[in-house]
């Protein structure tokens, strides 16, 4: 399955891009996605950032589905 990963703000600066396209076998979770991002980022983003799936905060054990939009969210600073 294919997953779009969005990366924002300081994390995007650290990674040098704001979007990745990743593929996983069926049954993959948010945690698997984070591990792959971490592998590609080589420590440039934290290992356990806030994550959203399809614009809702999610936990690492949440399963992913084909076409999901996963977002790595740096500490928020609105207001």
């Amino acid at each position: 399955m294919h997953v779009k990963v969005l990366v924002f703000a300081s994390y995007a600066d650290a990674l040098g891009k704001g979007e990745l396209a990743l593929s996983f076998p069926p049954g993959a979770t948010v945690g698997d996605c984070l591990a792959e991002v971490q592998r590609q980022a080589g420590g440039r983003v934290p290992p356990a950032p806030l994550v959203a799936v399809n614009r809702v905060y999610a936990r690492p054990e949440q399963p992913l589905a084909d076409g999901d939009e996963v977002a790595l969210i740096p500490p928020v600073a609105g207001g």
């Binding site: 959203a52 977002a71 969210i73 740096p74 928020v76 600073a77 609105g78």
Partner: protein, 139 residues
């Protein structure tokens, strides 16, 4: 399409007009502005960016949470994106209710939840020309 986010200066009287109702006897307003001081430099402005689709959805959820807690409350808010100069408003929240206590509670709830949950980020511009991401620390 963007209900809560705007790139334009905030118009508090327009928000007050949105919530005005004869049944509301109290209206609380919170306006957050970009402040000059930082520990190590003078802030001339802040670039606000966001995960816009999720920020809109998160504001929907926060407002729905507030309305479920205080059903008689009328709420309006806007949060700016883009460059906001020192002294200008970055967020405005208006809550109107039959009585003042509810209006204050709802307004406070919304700004606290905004700071906790809404995926928006600040990049400070300093007078010296430097820029840096703001790391939140509860303020």
């Amino acid at each position: 399409m963007c209900a809560w986010l705007t790139h334009d200066p905030l118009d508090v009287p327009a928000l007050l007009a949105e919530v005005a109702a004869e049944g509301c006897g109290g209206t609380a307003v919170f306006v957050g502005t970009v402040r000059r001081s930082a520990e190590d430099g003078e802030v001339v402005g802040i670039d606000y960016s966001g995960y816009e689709a999720m920020a809109e959805a998160e504001f929907d959820r926060i407002v729905a949470d507030a309305r479920s807690q205080w059903p008689d409350t009328r709420i309006a808010l806007r949060h700016r994106l883009g460059y906001v100069k020192t002294g200008e408003a970055s967020v405005a929240i208006v809550a109107a209710a039959p009585h003042r206590a509810t209006a204050f509670h709802a307004c406070r709830f919304i700004i606290e939840e905004t700071k906790e949950r809404v995926p928006i980020w600040k990049r400070e511009r300093l007078a010296a020309g430097d820029e840096r991401w703001v790391v939140p620390h509860g303020g």
